[in-house]
Amino acid sequence: MATRLLSRTISATLNCRTPSVSNRSIASLSRAPYRIHHTPSPVSKFSIQQTRTLASVSDSREYTVREALNEALAEELEADPKVFILGEEVAQYNGAYKVTKGLLDRFGPDRVIDTPITESGFAGLAVGAALAGLKPITEFMTWNFAMQAIDQIINSAAKTHYMSGGIQPCSITFRGPNGFAAGVAAQHRYVSLPLCYASLSTQDYTAWYGSIPGLKVVSPWSSEDAKGLLKAAIRDPNPVVVLENELLYGQSFPMSVAAQKDDFVIPFGKAKIERVGKDVTLVSLSRCVGQCLIAAEKLKSQYGVEAEVINLRSIKPMDVEAIIKSVKKTGHLVAVESGFPSFGVSSEILALSMEYMFDYLDSPAQRVTGAEVPTPYAQGLEAMAFPDEDLIFKKVAGLLRV
């Protein structure tokens, strides 16, 4: 209850800060708090430059991840009358993180639905609607709150198609922010706001859902990832878990012309090489991809090491072949994630490396993960609980003995 109060209080505070704004400009109201992410921080600045060098299409436009998600939702709501979105605050308030901005106005209250504060209730309703043939999108204010509904996600959504003998599909998308919320960049500059969310949004559920047969799990990093994966999730006939990251919502990335179109989808089970290298393979997901890219740049400038950075995009199914191919070339593997170390995504990648890449490895595969502690609230402690660019840099440097 305390955490809910907290998030409500924050929302309230945000509105109060700009009392002079007119009634209609909810957009500018909502933008105010998130402007922090637009402020160039070491992470976002780098990420933009880095991806710009990779994006070849000249007509690409800058999109924040939030805008990309919003566009994906709007396009799919437009394209298929069976699609609807529900969750806490998604309609009148435009979403706790403004991802659903403008959707209520455009699609009306039957398809953009504010629910009571009952995750098991609205997730269950969504599963029921999916079993009845609709294609619901369920927004969780954070994946932490989805713990109330995990029974519905796993026992009902993921298993019903199988248990019914294949006659009862469940086409449903569960989405929301996952993983750490107050990263290094935000922490240095803006102590008060992001930290308020820290204790309620800093657990990574990738491994939880990634272990369930019947679910598909994706975790976008860039704006293109966000749009393409979310659209693919909504269209997919299976239940899909989309694990977004709050700190990425305000970050801008270039969006290619192809990705700006409404038929753009990213196929599941395909990783993306975000940076080509020959010396070491960094496999990562979500926000850690950006951290890996910074670490890779530093490795190059300090030691001339060329790290290959793989953005998994899709966790289940996982593109193991892309990792194998890369490790064949580099001979070294480091998995980077923000989740807890035990039984996690990186544990899985390292196990896969034993099964499929043992002969290609010149050194033991390594992992960089979050600390095995419940995420602490205090500023300094919280920073210590998650991997950062420097840690990745040091781990790789140590592994390669440079």
Binding site: S11, A12, N15, N23, R24, I26, L29, F84, A91, Q92, Y93, N94, L104, D105, G108, P109, D110, R111, V112, I113, D114, T115, P116, T118, S120, G121, F122, A123, G124, L125, A126, V127, G128, A129, A130, L131, A132, G133, L134, P136, Q148, D151, Q152, N155, S156, T160, H161, Y162, M163, S164, G165, G166, I167, Q168, P169, P213, G214, N238, G269, P317
Partner: protein, 480 residues
């Protein structure tokens, strides 16, 4: 008491009010008369920017402005729109003397209390026979299957004894397009809707003809043809699903409702409360049918909850609610018919609490005489039984006699045993069914696993006895 500007502002952000105003509620089924008595739609004085509080029935965009009238004797809050002020400090209590009534149509002797219940019984002979026959079939099937579990021929079974009236009585009032989410003690619903004896048996033996491809434990039936969703072992998860299915029917504008069954024990699960709340707030055409049978496995109802049953919870959620005698198949039929009408025409949920007594053990894994006296059960059986009651009703109308009854029972027993033996001899599903349907199409990993298994089985044929599975060794289909 009146609301000052700053208080209003802090209660609801401006953005809420402006968007809400754009979606006026067309139906306004919400307490409108009550609100109007105490509140008035405000007329903003010119030059002020004050915006009033809003009130509604909870659905997005259904809220509308209300205002506290000066000197009113009532409180107007969005959450309590017509509450009288009082100076008497008084805690409201659940009063056992004022329990919600239990609706009945016929007595334990099958006699109709009041022929003007809106049921034209004379024209319902055929339906009555179908209802009776469904109930008897379930009860004979239960005996056979219970014994077969004891003989080790199936792993598990749940009998319906004492509750056949609820399942069959309600099923008789539903439409073919209605979508059913049952718990596990509602075989009568399937029986009445036309699930074949072979289908029951194929499921319990998990053979190759089972619609669920042998993936579920016995009695977890499913039927797409009959709009009957697969039964889930996790308790009460079907309730929010029914809310969602009801919402889907609402969006599609179909003349049908979703129906879900559950026990009073399941109503202690959070999902029950979540489902009722969300069905009420979203106006889902969903019937919640509670079988209050006195026991949640071994926990007697009095230890399960306090207050006036499950019905009082429905009232608390603002849901039209009725309590009915579950041993009276006609009463269950009548309330279900009315409830269905309300749900569809008014697009809102209805809760039915059907009272009965669980004559049977909870399941084959349970021995209820460890926690209740045998004599208690015998007393109940003697006093009242839904099947006996309907039989007496038919006998009073000269529709039925002892001979016909024994004839029916003999024939049913024969039919059931025939289906039983056929299902038991049937092969199990093909081995590749193990991997199918996890996703809409098998993943690459799954296809590889199938191919690996096929390869291993081919190399070590003596280690794998696959004769009991459909297509044997060839039942592993690898589609790389």
């Amino acid at each position: 008491m009146s609301f000052s500007g700053p208080l209003r502002r802090s209660l609801l952000p401006r953005s809420y009010r402006s968007i809400a105003a754009r979606y006026p509620c067309p139906k306004r089924r919400c307490l409108s008369s009550a609100v109007n008595a105490a509140a008035e739609v405000p007329r903003e004085p010119e030059g002020t920017k004050e915006v009033p509080m809003t009130v509604g029935d909870g659905g997005a965009g259904t809220s509308r402005p209300v205002k506290q009238r000066a000197g009113s004797d009532r409180l107007v809050f969005p959450g309590a729109v017509n509450s009288k002020f009082t100076n008497r400090l008084h805690f409201r209590k659940s009063d056992p003397e004022k329990a919600i009534d239990t609706y009945r149509v016929m007595d334990t002797e099958g006699k109709i209390f009041d022929e003007t219940h809106g049921l034209d019984f004379d024209s319902m002979k055929e339906q009555t026979l179908k209802m009776y026959s469904s109930m008897v079939t379930v009860s004979i099937m239960d005996q056979i299957m219970f014994d077969s579990q004891r003989q080790g021929r199936i792993s598990f079974y749940i009998v319906n004894a004492g509750e056949e009236g609820i399942a069959v009585g309600s099923a008789a009032a539903l439409g073919e397009q209605d979508v059913i989410y049952a718990q596990y003690r509602e075989a009568g619903v399937l029986m009445y809707r036309g699930y074949g004896l072979d289908e029951f048996m194929n499921q319990c033996f998990a053979n190759r003809k089972d619609h669920g491809k042998g993936r579920n434990m016995p009695i977890h039936y499913t039927s797409k043809r009959l709009n009957f969703h697969p039964i889930s072992s996790t308790l009460a998860t079907q309730l929010p699903h029914a809310s969602g299915a009801g919402y889907a029917l609402k969006l599609e504008g179909k003349e049908a409702c979703a129906v879900t069954y559950f026990g009073e024990g399941a109503a202690s699960e959070g999902d029950f409360h979540a489902a009722l709340n969300i069905a009420a707030t979203r106006g889902c055409p969903t019937l919640f049918i509670c079988r209050n049978n006195g026991y949640a496995i071994s926990t007697p109802t009095l230890d399960q909850y306090k207050g006036d049953g499950i019905a009082s919870r429905g009232v608390g959620y603002g849901i039209d609610t009725i309590r009915v005698d579950g041993n009276d198949a006609w009463a269950v039929y009548k309330v279900t018919k009315e409830a269905r009408e309300i749900a569809i025409s008014q697009q809102k949920p209805v809760l039915i609490e059907a009272m009965s007594y669980r004559v049977s053990h909870h399941s084959t894994s349970d021995d209820s005489f460890a926690y209740r006296a045998r004599v208690e059960v015998e007393d109940w059986k003697r006093r009242d039984n839904p099947i006996t009651r309907l039989r007496k009703f038919m006998e009073l109308r000269n529709w039925w006699d002892q001979d016909q009854d024994s004839q029916l029972r003999t024939q049913l027993r024969k039919d059931i045993l025939k289906a039983f033996n056929a299902a038991e001899r049937e092969k199990k599903p093909a081995i590749s069914k193990l991997w199918e349907d996890i996703y809409d199409t098998p993943s690459k990993d799954q296809r590889e696993q199938m191919a690996d298994l096929k390869d291993v089985m081919h190399r070590y044929p003596d280690e794998y006895d696959v004769g009991m599975y459909e297509a044997g060794e060839n039942g592993v289909v690898s589609r790389r």
